[in-house]
Amino acid sequence: MGQVGTRILTVEDDERIRTAVKLALEDEGWEVAEASNGEDALQLFTQEPADVVLIDIMLPGIDGFEVCRSVRRTSDVPIIMVTARADTHDVVAGLEAGADDYLTKPFAPKELSARIRALLRRVRTSDPAASHLAFGDLEIIPDEGVVRKAGEEVHLTKTEFRLLVELATTPGRVFSREVLLERVWGYGYFGDGRLVDVHIRRLRTKIESDAAQPQHVVTVRGLGYKLQV
């Protein structure tokens, strides 16, 4: 069941789908706001920010990618996009536009709920020593959700932040895509590795001085990613 009072904004132009998904999500315990196009969605989001945004990529008027980018400009809210196919460039384009995860139509609302819950999971900091982490000019304070680079605060999305903290819990350890997919997105072995790759890429543009020559989050060829000590 979803957390009480957690608000989900669904952007979908097909009224029947919108209504059915709303009913199903409400059964799961979420509060649902609806928008039938991008303009309405952005207006609604400005008036009353949601905790999760669900965007169909195929929208009349401004498309889902653009809605995604607009929301991302002002907010770190988890965004799930709905695509037609898993094997198109749409997925990568959507992730690069700022989406945290994706689903392909038709999906089961229960699956959507599971995705939402995974994205809303809070960062676990059981280890008190991990309350303040520093790597060179990079500073991470998990409990406060703050990341500073050379003393200046960096704005990360919730998912980027959780990904970074996951890497930072065991600095120097190599995390495979599969492990990161499980810990950050709640997927198992069969999750889509592109989620990890695109998020790592986005993370690098924010915390690295030169994203092409990463000093903090480095690729270990054939194995995965690690946070350089």
Binding site: L23, D27, P106, R177, F190, G193, R194, R201, T219, G222
Partner: protein, 473 residues
């Protein structure tokens, strides 16, 4: 009745060239031979005539009324040469050169009569098997007739040599013509081979194949027609493929509504009367089935439209299969992962390979009483995954067709509650082929009843790494 095998076009062209060459060279040889023969013989005859006239004159001047027979012999002996033999009838008495090679019996009667009437003449006869020219010249002053036999043997032999040369030339030119024919036909058939190759390519699915026959302007119209046909075919197939894709696409929206609505209904099952609840359960399971069908159709139509994109990443095949088994609901499923497979890295599209495995396990569940075992092993070049069941196995005759679309084989003939639509194995085939791999079904190696589906994939050469992402790991 066996129809005779029609010789190929190339052979026929070659033969026609050879025949033409033979006819032409034979005609030329024959003409050359005839003309040369006439010219040579005439020359020889003219020479013989002058000689005969000279000799006759000489004989006439030397023979006098009182010349004895021996004297005539001597005169004739003096006139004799390698190519001419004289003979004289003097006062009704024949005198020869004494060699006996040319006697009065040899002189044809016509010539004798002619010369007797005071007319000179000549005649060609075969003397001692040699063509010989006999001149007859009356010598009225001596009351004598002079005959001279001139052998044409040398000319004949020259002509025979010429004949041999000509026959040789004719044969050589026939052979050359045949070779030329072969070459010409090959050149001519070259564009046809291109056409054939292009047709094979199109039949093989490369619909964008087009002909470029610039070498032969005559064939431009053929190339144009061919390309038009290929274009029309491509458009048509493309349209059909898009149609299937669009139809499946359009089905997704209502399916989405159905899936969400059914879920709402299911959430409220306990508040429904039994009959309604049963109906909802039926509805729910068929919506799921419908959903699978549409997803499979979409996947297949993407293959048809050439839209299928592989998202490869290096995957340890042993770990992959372990994960597949872990996710599977089959309780009896045992995995046997060879040490070679633990190290084998294969570039795969995980989503697709997961679907391959899921479909094979599902297929075993439907028709083979459930998968019993997954074998994984690898060589330096290939990684192999085999899924076994304990069902009736697949009859030899069906081992190919079960991978066809909407084919359920004899085992799937009855439409039970839980049979599929027959897209599962064809999707397996398409996915595996997209990976440059192969899939087939065989008997279980342990001799027990059951089918063994084998997927063979090429092992990574270590080059590829997440082709969809330049930062792939």
């Amino acid at each position: 009745m066996f129809p005779l095998k029609t010789p190929g076009l190339g052979t026929r062209i070659s033969l026609a060239f050879a025949l033409g060459g033979l006819l032409l060279s034979t005609f030329l040889a024959f003409a050359t031979q005839t003309l040369t023969r006439e010219v040579l013989l005439r020359q020889r005859e003219n020479a013989a005539l002058s000689l005969a006239l000279g000799n006759a004159q000489l004989a006439q001047s030397q023979i006098t009324d009182d010349t004895e027979a021996e004297g005539v012999d001597d005169i004739l002996s003096a006139l004799q040469s390698s190519s001419s033999r004289p003979l004289v009838q003097l006062n009704g008495v024949w005198q020869g050169d004494g060699s006996g090679a040319f006697t009065q019996e040899d002189v044809p009667v016509e010539l004798l009569t002619l010369v007797a009437s005071g007319q000179p003449g000549r005649i060609r006869i075969a003397l001692n098997d040699q063509l010989t020219l006999i001149h007859g010249i009356p010598l009225p002053e001596d009351n004598a007739d002079y005959f001279e036999a001139a052998s044409l043997a040398e000319t004949e032999s020259n002509l025979r040599s010429l004949q041999l040369v000509l026959i040789g030339a004719a044969l050589t030119s026939t052979l050359l013509a045949a070779l030329l024919g072969k070459y010409a036909s090959r050149r001519m058939l070259e564009p046809l081979n291109e056409v054939s190759d292009a047709a094979v390519a199109i039949a093989g699915g490369r619909l964008d194949t087009r002909l470029d026959l610039q070498v032969a302007p005559e064939l431009t119209s053929l190339a144009n027609s061919f390309n038009d046909m290929a274009g029309a075919l491509e458009t048509r197939i493309d349209r059909d493929a898009r149609f299937a894709s669009e139809v499946s696409h359009e089905l997704r929206s209502p399916l989405m509504t159905l899936a969400a609505s059914v879920e709402v209904l299911e959430n409220n099952l306990d508040q429904m009367p039994d009959r309604a609840a049963t109906a909802v359960e039926l509805l729910s399971s068929d919506v799921t089935r419908f959903q699978t069908l549409v997803q499979d159709l979409l996947e297949i139509s993407r293959f048809d439209a050439g839209d299928a994109v592989l998202e490869l990443e290096p995957v340890g095949i042993g770990e992959f299969v372990r994960q597949v088994a872990r996710r599977s609901t089959e309780s009896e499923l045992a995995t046997s992962i060879a040490p070679t497979a633990e190290e084998a890295i294969v570039d795969v599209d995980k989503r697709r390979l997961a679907q391959v495995m899921a479909n094979l396990i599902e297929n075993a569940r439907k028709y083979g009483g459930g998968a019993t075992r997954i074998d994984v092993f690898a060589t330096a070049d290939t990684a192999t995954i085999a899924v076994e069941d304990a069902g009736p196995g697949v009859p030899l005759a069906e081992r190919e067709v079960i991978f066809d679309r909407f084919s359920r084989g004899s085992a799937g003939g009855s439409r039970g509650i839980d049979t599929g639509v027959g897209l599962g194995l064809s999707l397996v085939d398409e996915h595996v082929r997209l990976h440059n791999g192969r899939v087939w079904v065989e008997d279980r190696p342990d001799g027990l009843s059951g089918a063994r589906f084998v997927v063979e994939l090429p092992v990574s050469d270590g080059e590829a790494d997440g082709s969809w992402d330049e930062e792939g790991i």
